[in-house]
Amino acid sequence: MIDRTARPAPPAFAPDAAFRAKLANLSLVSQRPHGHLHTGGRRSRATGSSLEFADHRSYSPGDDFRQIDWNIYARTDELFVKVRESEETLVVHLLLDVSGSMASGTPAKFETARAVLAAIGWTALASRDVVAGAALGADLGETFAPRQGEGYFNRLLEFLQRQPAGGTTGLARAVSAYNAHALPHGVAIFVSDLLAADAPRAIGALAQRGHELTVLHVLDDEFANPAFADEVELIDAEGGGSLEVLGDVDLLRAYRQAIGDWTSDLQQFCHRRHVRYVPVRSNWAVEDIVLRRLREHGTLA
């Protein structure tokens, strides 16, 4: 007999109740209409069938008889129909980089990424936004079909928990495949270490799709500030070969400089495409990332 009341324990990266309570007061910021007239939790500039009255206009043949304001007709003998405001539904795309490089770091970047996406997903579902998701690895991985309502939060957690971090990175190809699903554009949260040569192309493709994109660039301290001496053989976590280096001061200094240049280039790239670029470290607290960093960058409000 199946015990339908028994529920699995929430994963570690899931926001706890206190965190969720804080998140309930927030919502994802959308600065432009995305044209999805649907019953949602957001007021739209378009008129629709919601209960909110907007205006009257003269009746035209073909108008819905149910919208004729009979009270005005009784007073004026002219037919007017009621015009009501439309409520917009925002689609939130949660995109998770599941390449092997995300497994590195203490804690692993992947864990931090899942926790952040879980928190954002909760915020979106609680705001009656539609949440969709996808795992981006060497290609497009598992997708999370658009869902609306808090009831789908557990499914979102299960989706995130199922994703393994491994394999190579093919961000541009994966994003291209995701865009091909023809989901409505909306707000996209892309969490990745961007350690792929095609990362800028992937960002550009998401921005070009019409999403209000926030790139959460997560790095770990060991990667950003390595501290080894002597001769070492560096092994690519994604199987990208190895490299013998001499860990001298000059090389480490040059490496840190290269990291700075790289992140700076990415930031400028995102800025030119109106993409929010939020650099974070894997060892930062998730609450700090979500409640402070994302609010500072205008992703959450």
Binding site: G105, A196, V232, E233, A237, V249, A254, Y255, I259
Partner: protein, 612 residues
């Protein structure tokens, strides 16, 4: 560039050990990183050249290999030829003549003053000066040549002692000049008690003379000879020469004693540097004579005594064996104290008389008799190493100071029938024709042997006025009773080799101090001559006395040889130091380079790579 120890280059093989350690070192650390994207960009931007990257990665290994190689090069002691500027060499000449033993009023001998002065000069010289030390004794000796070892120089100077002889300062200065030529910037310093005379011009320019000792007379006997008077053979005439080598006048008394008779004395005044001769006419015949010079305040008494004996020539029996012996016999009969007879070759075999000297004319006996021999134009004699005679007609070259050619004009010896021989190894060549000998002499198994190549009977050589003189020289040299060859005198500090009589098997030498030295004739008899006086040489055949000879120690060998005209004062030194080409050690610099390489390696290891 050359190597003083090229075998040390083998140490470069240690590079193999360094390479082995490199290959066997703990493997490098493997670090898994999220991505090599940034690393590759960094490496690419940092080192465009992969060779440079390889060099950078293996810098420590390369430095270690280089250090080992450079150390091996240093151990091989590389040298290079270079012009180096040297301080002028210095030669110290210390007079060790007998007068240097004179003690001044304070009791310090002059040799000690000389040591002190020389030591002070050595102390004042720079550390790089090459110093030579030469003693001016009867035989000048170089104790050390051009050394920079100050301790050795001081030690040698401290060990210099005066000899019982005169000092040959001129010869010592010649040696010093060859080691530190004043004309080439060298310094020659002479430490002596012989003051400047002011008369003779300096023969040794640039010599710094340091005179030691206080003014004092130094009276010496410089010669003493006795001879029978020609007009009265039973009366002996003695001739004594005395000289004052000191710096103050002296009044001396010369005393001559004949045997154990009454001494006869005469006084004379000797100004400094003066030499006077006294003749004692009425001396009796005696076995030996002694002369002594006595002077108050005389600094040196060693040279005040001399001995002499009447030269009583021994009669020699000479046998001439040949078919035409008469020219030689006639010449020998003119020699005093020689009894010469001629016998034919056939009768030589039956001859039982024991002559002292045999002359073989164109004939070679099967075995040489136990006497001296003169071989005139002999045939080949393998036993003596003589090859077949060769006739030649070339001008011979004479040996200087040949005892056989004394007062003989070589030019008259030319004859078309003379023969020459390849010089045997035992012989000293008196007359040389090309590489062959026309006249030679030597000692073979205790026998004095002369080989004469010129034609005595086939030419008119026997009519030459020198012919008897030549044979006189031959007889004097070949006298088997004389333990020292004619013309050789005992000289202090110089060993004398005695030639035994052919029949003697033992030699006993009694010295002037009463000491006796025994020699076996089977081995070379070398007499050490140190004490002045008369030496008596007795030769025995078993218990039978073969000969007894008295050899005078020449008194002139004791007396100083006179003053050397040398200037006093600072030496004239060259204005510039000499530059010579010599091997210069490079290895210290190579070793410093190796150490520097190790320091760089250490610095890279600890400062550049040491990031933890």
């Amino acid at each position: 560039m050359s190597w003083a120890a090229p075998l040390a280059l083998a140490w470069a093989g240690l590079t193999v050990a360094v390479l082995a350690f490199f290959l066997l070192r703990p493997r490098r650390q493997r670090v898994v990183v999220a991505s090599l994207l940034i690393w590759r960009r960094t490496i690419h931007a940092r080192a465009e050249d992969t060779w440079l990257a390889w060099l950078r990665r293996h810098a420590l290994l390369l430095l270690q290999l280089l250090a080992v190689i450079v150390f091996a090069l240093a151990l091989a002691r590389p040298e290079r030829l270079a012009m180096v500027e040297l301080d002028p060499p210095v030669a110290l000449v210390v007079d060790v003549s007998a007068s240097m033993a004179i003690a001044d009023r304070d009791g310090t001998p002059r040799i000690q003053h000389a040591r002190d002065e020389a030591g002070a000069l050595v102390h004042a010289l720079g550390d790089d000066r090459r110093i030579s030390v030469i003693t001016a004794g009867a035989v000048p000796r170089t104790l050390v040549a051009q050394t920079t070892d100050r301790a050795a120089v001081s030690r040698l100077l401290g060990g210099v002692e005066p000899e019982a002889s005169h000092g040959r300062i001129d010869a010592a200065l010649d040696m010093a000049r060859s080691l530190a030529d004043p004309a080439a910037g060298g310094i020659v310093a002479l430490f002596t008690d012989k003051g400047p005379t002011g008369g003779r011009q300096p023969a040794y320019a640039g010599v710094r003379t340091v005179v030691v000792g206080e003014p004092a007379p130094n009276v010496a006997l410089v010669s003493f000879q006795v001879r029978r008077r020609l007009d009265a053979p039973d009366v002996v005439q003695g001739v004594v020469a005395a000289r004052n080598d000191g710096s103050t006048p002296a009044t001396a008394e010369v005393v001559v004693t004949a045997g154990r008779g009454t001494p006869r004395g005469r006084s004379l005044d000797l100004p400094p540097g003066d030499r006077q001769i006294l003749v004692f006419d009425e001396l009796p015949v005696a076995a030996g004579y002694q002369a002594e010079v006595r002077a108050p305040d005389d600094g040196l008494s060693t040279d005040n005594l001399a001995f002499a004996s009447l030269a009583e020539p021994s009669r020699l029996s000479v046998v001439v064996v040949g078919d035409e012996p008469w020219p030689i016999v006639r010449a020998l009969q003119a020699v005093p104290a020689v009894t010469a007879q001629a016998i034919s070759v056939d009768s030589f075999e039956q001859d039982t008389s024991a002559a002292d000297l045999y002359v073989f004319q164109g004939f070679a006996p099967e075995s040489l008799p136990a006497a001296s021999s003169v071989l005139v134009q002999p045939p080949a004699m393998p036993v003596l190493g003589l090859d077949a005679p060769v006739t030649g007609d070339v001008r011979p070259l004479a040996l200087a100071d040949s005892p056989l050619l004394r007062s003989v004009d070589v030019g008259d010896l030319l004859s078309g029938t003379d023969v020459t021989y390849a010089p045997p190894p035992w012989a000293l060549v008196d007359l040389r024709v090309g590489d062959r000998a026309l006249l030679a002499h030597g000692v073979v198994e205790g026998r004095r042997i002369a080989v004469v190549g010129f034609d005595v009977t086939g030419s008119n050589i026997s009519q030459a006025p020198w012919f008897p003189l030549f044979w006189s020289n031959v007889v004097r040299w070949a006298d088997p009773f004389a333990p020292l060859p004619e013309g050789v005198e005992l000289e202090p500090g110089r060993p004398a080799r005695l030639i035994p009589h052919p029949q003697a098997d033992r030699i006993s030498v009694a010295g002037p101090a009463g000491d006796t030295t025994e020699f076996s004739t089977r081995q070379p008899a070398v007499l050490e001559v140190r004490t002045p006086g008369a030496y008596t040489v007795r030769q025995f055949a078993g218990q039978e006395l073969v000969s007894q000879t008295s050899i005078d120690f020449a008194p002139r060998m004791v007396a100083p040889t006179g003053r050397v005209g040398v200037p006093v004062g600072p030496a004239a030194t060259a204005e510039s130091s000499p530059r010579i080409q010599q091997q210069v050690d490079v290895w210290p610099w190579v070793a410093v380079l190796a150490l520097a390489l190790l320091l760089v390696e250490w610095w890279i290891f600890h400062r550049v790579r040491g990031v933890r």
